[in-house]
């Protein structure tokens, strides 16, 4: 850290502020708090996909040692606010989230239907197996392809003709159909699961009858606080939510789930703190997933590479009780110059649980189809796919007809092409070899809205010269605290060692959920604001000093550096922040600032982050084994606050994309509507051996229209466009175009 003992910390590869906690095991995740007299809860899931509970026999479970309660729809405490319409922090979807233990209806297989509470985990696990349930079975529909004709326009779109999920036509509808040079292809992605390494868990503790504390795995501290306050009809300030460390989430912690309420019910019933940790199987059924999707892209282009039309259709899976939607088709509407663009989005309700946004939600799905189609189109006209994309690059948003706040995608493309050695790529597939292996190169572009929300940060400058900031944001892995410390160090002129950023508690000033790649833009702006106010306060303090050396000082003619204020013109007169407070007889200086995006600017500009991913793969022609041998991921994500953590995020997205492309996919036994792939031995997330060297490169130019730190988000664009880059590289290696993920050797060998 010594190297960064200067104010210009932004951009530096500073070590994480919580690194030591994480490598020593001291970091406490939600299931790891020690509370007196804690009981353990285990959920029982349904074994049918649709129908109702005929009878539930809990006698043996209740008589098992250590069992404190077995709760289900017949004997559960009724959650007073369980008429909740939706997740309160989110735009209202049609239908409603699953309410736990409310009636005997079964909507999906492994739906939580009972909770067993015991004094030890082993006893709760054992007793959970003794609960016997009989069902009235109804015929379920879980097979996407068999039911695809039942897909519908989402209700939000039906209700509001202006809603973005409605059909979209720019120019002429389906114009590609009558063009001479065209492609038309269908793409499928299976259901994929977030599977963060930390199992979803919660400790629920009723500190008083109307006072609830939860240690909860969530990306949304305030959202969770509001949801539980509403559920239980208690004042918001009576609910405390702690999520200091979150062991990954990738979207599945964006709203509350039935298991959380089950634990809260249990804690109320047994009048003890209750810990509930899902099993790995339950992570596949109880906390959402990236929905199975079918897509079709039609595209036409001129011989010299101008796209003339794109039609992109998508159908995404949802549950029977709640409509889940995502912006699968957004990239198609704004990324390329095509004068004619048509998009149609539908959802397909099935007897499965409701999906939830998973890293690069929608866009990652859509980009797989769009960016593969682009590669197919370029091949038809015999053009290099990089050149094809450059020709169709847009200098303003063709959908909204607005200028971009910033867009440096071309630079990113050039950096990446150089680094991967794109020159080695041959137009014709199968031309490059490494011994027996066929070598191929592919690329894919990603984009995601450069979102920014409203956040509040409280900062306390102490007379020992240290600064403590607090905000109710979270860190699911990107390094939120580290980035905030660097932003404050830069803006206040204080060494990062003297700054602490506290997060993950509802006791701190509100921040939105960590989602939509918006945290640094949102919370970072509030940190920026709080630092400006602190500087002003310090300035007026020194200017008004009896010691007149700072007379007439303004923020502009002062230098803030290394924790000292000095006159820029005569730096010898300087005072430490701490001494300034001491002179005022102040033990500390406290400032709370809120920052929101400028709505009028947001109407004048279109704001997106961009990524481009390059993959080199090797495919064995006899076995179909696929190895990603090199990856380069480049981003135009505005100012990079921390080269190390930002680079790591890009790498992580690339690894996630490798999983999407090559290994991940749910398989369901439709006779029972139950997943076959429901643990990490059957559902394959990438392991060390699947991950090659991955380089991440940043354009690193600020977007000051977006926010004062000039940042744009990274989390989503890190994965959006990776899967098509790999699929395209496989085509370049083999001449085989696999349009259904994951691309496994059997699929490759069968073509």
């Amino acid at each position: 850290m010594k190297d960064y003992f200067f104010q210009d910390t932004v951009g530096k590869p500073m070590d994480r502020v919580d690194g030591r906690q994480k490598v020593t095991g001291a970091a406490k995740y939600s299931a790891e708090y020690e509370l007196p007299n804690m009981a353990h809860a285990v959920l029982v899931g349904s074994t049918i996909a649709r129908g109702s509970i005929k009878s539930i026999d809990t006698k043996r479970a209740e008589n098992a040692p250590g069992v404190l309660a077995v709760l289900h729809y017949q004997n559960s405490i009724k959650v007073p606010g369980y008429v909740q319409e939706a997740h309160p922090t989110e735009p209202k979807p049609a239908g409603k989230p699953l309410q736990v233990f409310i009636d005997n209806q079964i909507h999906f297989n492994d739906q939580p239907i009972a909770v067993v509470v015991a004094d030890t985990l082993e006893r709760a696990m054992y007793a959970a197996k003794l609960v016997k349930v009989q069902y009235n079975v109804e015929k379920h529909a879980t097979d996407f392809h068999q039911n695809v004709s039942k897909a519908v326009l989402p209700t939000v779109a039906k209700r509001n003709p202006k809603h973005g999920l409605n059909d979209y036509v720019r120019g002429k509808e389906d114009a590609y159909k009558t063009e001479p040079l065209k492609i038309e292809s269908e793409y499928v992605i299976p259901t994929e699961f977030h599977n963060p390494m930390e199992l979803q868990s919660i400790i629920a503790h009723w500190e008083a009858d109307n006072k609830l504390t939860v240690y909860d795995k969530t990306q949304a501290v305030i959202g969770t606080q509001n949801a539980f306050a509403k559920d239980w009809g208690i004042p918001v300030q009576n609910v405390k939510v702690i999520a200091t460390y979150v062991g990954g989430a990738f979207g599945n912690g964006l709203h509350t789930w039935p298991h959380e309420t089950a634990a809260i019910i249990a804690a109320k019933k047994v009048n003890r703190p209750v810990k509930l940790m899902l099993t790995r199987e339950q992570m596949f059924t109880m906390v959402g997933y990236r929905p199975h999707a079918w897509q079709k892209v039609g595209m036409s282009a001129t011989k010299d590479g101008k796209i003339t039309a794109i039609t992109h259709e998508a159908i995404g899976q949802t549950s029977s009780y709640e409509e889940f939607t995502e912006s699968t088709l957004q990239q198609t509407r704004m990324m390329y110059t095509s004068p004619n663009v048509t998009t149609r989005y539908r959802i397909l309700p099935l007897n499965v649980s409701t999906p939830i946004w998973m890293r690069g939600p929608g866009e990652a799905t859509g980009a797989f189809a769009l960016e593969c189609a682009l590669d197919e189109m370029a091949y038809v006209i015999g053009m290099d796919p990089l050149e094809f994309r450059l020709i169709n690059h847009t200098d303003k948003d063709p959908e909204k007809n607005l200028p971009w706040s910033t867009k440096y995608l071309k630079e990113a493309m050039q950096m990446g092409a150089e680094k991967i050695g794109w020159r080695k790529r041959q137009l014709q597939p199968g031309m490059v070899k490494n011994g027996e292996w066929l070598v191929g190169y592919g690329m894919g572009v990603g984009t995601f809205g450069a979102n920014r929300g409203r956040a509040k940060v409280k900062a306390t400058l102490h007379k020992d010269g240290t600064l403590v900031m607090q905000s109710a944001t979270t860190d699911i892995g990107p390094g939120t605290g580290t980035a905030m410390v660097q932003i404050a160090a830069q803006n206040l002129g204080l060494p990062p060692e003297k700054i602490v950023f506290e997060l993950g508690s509802s006791l701190y000033p509100p921040s939105p959920s960590q989602g939509g790649s918006a945290t640094v833009a949102t919370v970072g702006s509030a940190v920026h604001a709080v630092c400006q106010v602190l500087k002003k306060r310090l300035t007026s303090m020194v200017a008004g000093n009896s010691d007149t050396s700072f007379k007439g000082a303004t923020v502009e003619n002062l230098t803030f550096k290394d924790g000292y204020v000095s006159l820029t013109a005569s730096p010898s007169a300087r005072l430490s922040f701490g001494d300034i407070l001491k002179q005022q007889n102040l033990p500390e200086l406290e400032v709370t600032e809120e920052s929101s995006p400028d709505a009028s600017l947001r109407q004048k500009y279109s704001m997106y982050s961009y990524s481009v991913h390059f993959a080199e793969v090797q495919v064995h022609p006899l076995t179909g084994q696929i190895r990603v041998t090199n990856m380069v991921s480049c981003a135009d994500a505005g100012t990079i606050i921390n080269a190390k953590t930002a680079g790591n995020q890009m790498i992580g997205g690339a690894v996630g994309g490798i999983g999407m492309a090559l290994t991940e996919g749910a398989i369901m036994d439709h006779r029972f509507g139950r997943y076959v792939t429901k643990d990490l031995a059957e559902y394959h997330v990438p392991v060390h051996a699947d991950a090659p060297n991955i380089s991440s490169l940043f354009v690193n130019k600020p977007d000051l229209i977006n926010n004062p730190n000039g940042t744009k988000g990274i989390g989503e664009i890190a994965i959006i466009g990776v899967a098509p880059a790999i699929a395209n590289a496989i085509f370049n290696a083999t001449g085989k175009r696999i349009r259904e993920l994951p691309i496994t050797p059997d699929k490759l060998m069968m073509v």
Partner: protein, 218 residues
Amino acid sequence: MPQDKFPDQHLPEGEGGQAQHSDARRTFLKQSSLLTALALAPPAALKAAELKFEEKVAAVFEQVKVTLGINGKKQKLSIEPRTTLLDLLREQLHLTGTKKGCDYGQCGACTVHVDGQRVLSCLTLAAMADGKEITTIEGLANGDKLHPMQEAFIKHDGFQCGYCTPGQIMSAVACIKEGHADSDDEIREYMSGNICRCGAYPNIVNAIKEVKNGGHKV
């Protein structure tokens, strides 16, 4: 001792075996040894027996005494035979640095060292570790001085959320000791039992290489 009455207690659990195994044990108890048991039974068991709660009768006898060395300290414990080393560490000893990522030996988050070897604590019954030396992530550093692998993970940012990290580090230390860190590919192969969903793999490989090549004692 009571546990002698249950000769199957050290059997590994089979596929989905917990319920069957325990069921069998309880049936055995009911059929053949309830009378013997009652002769020696503490009052709690008698009361349970009166109420015909066979489960509760069984519970009274189901404790195994073990002595484990944990991070250099001897601990005498009385545990249920079905308790895994992972749950013992996390739930009873509050050593939560060892993580549960699956409970089925599929993710590596629970990796600890047992007598110097890397072991998945979720697949190890605590009773099987009787008399053994266990090192968890909490015992890796030398007081305030971090182990070189911990330093290297910080320097190379070998993690994001940090949840897989204790397991990765314990595995990485063992990987070098085993002599399985001679190339990037070898490291990747021998670390493949430790999943990082955040995908920090390349950084983890770099951290391991640095420790290996730096000639640090691991």
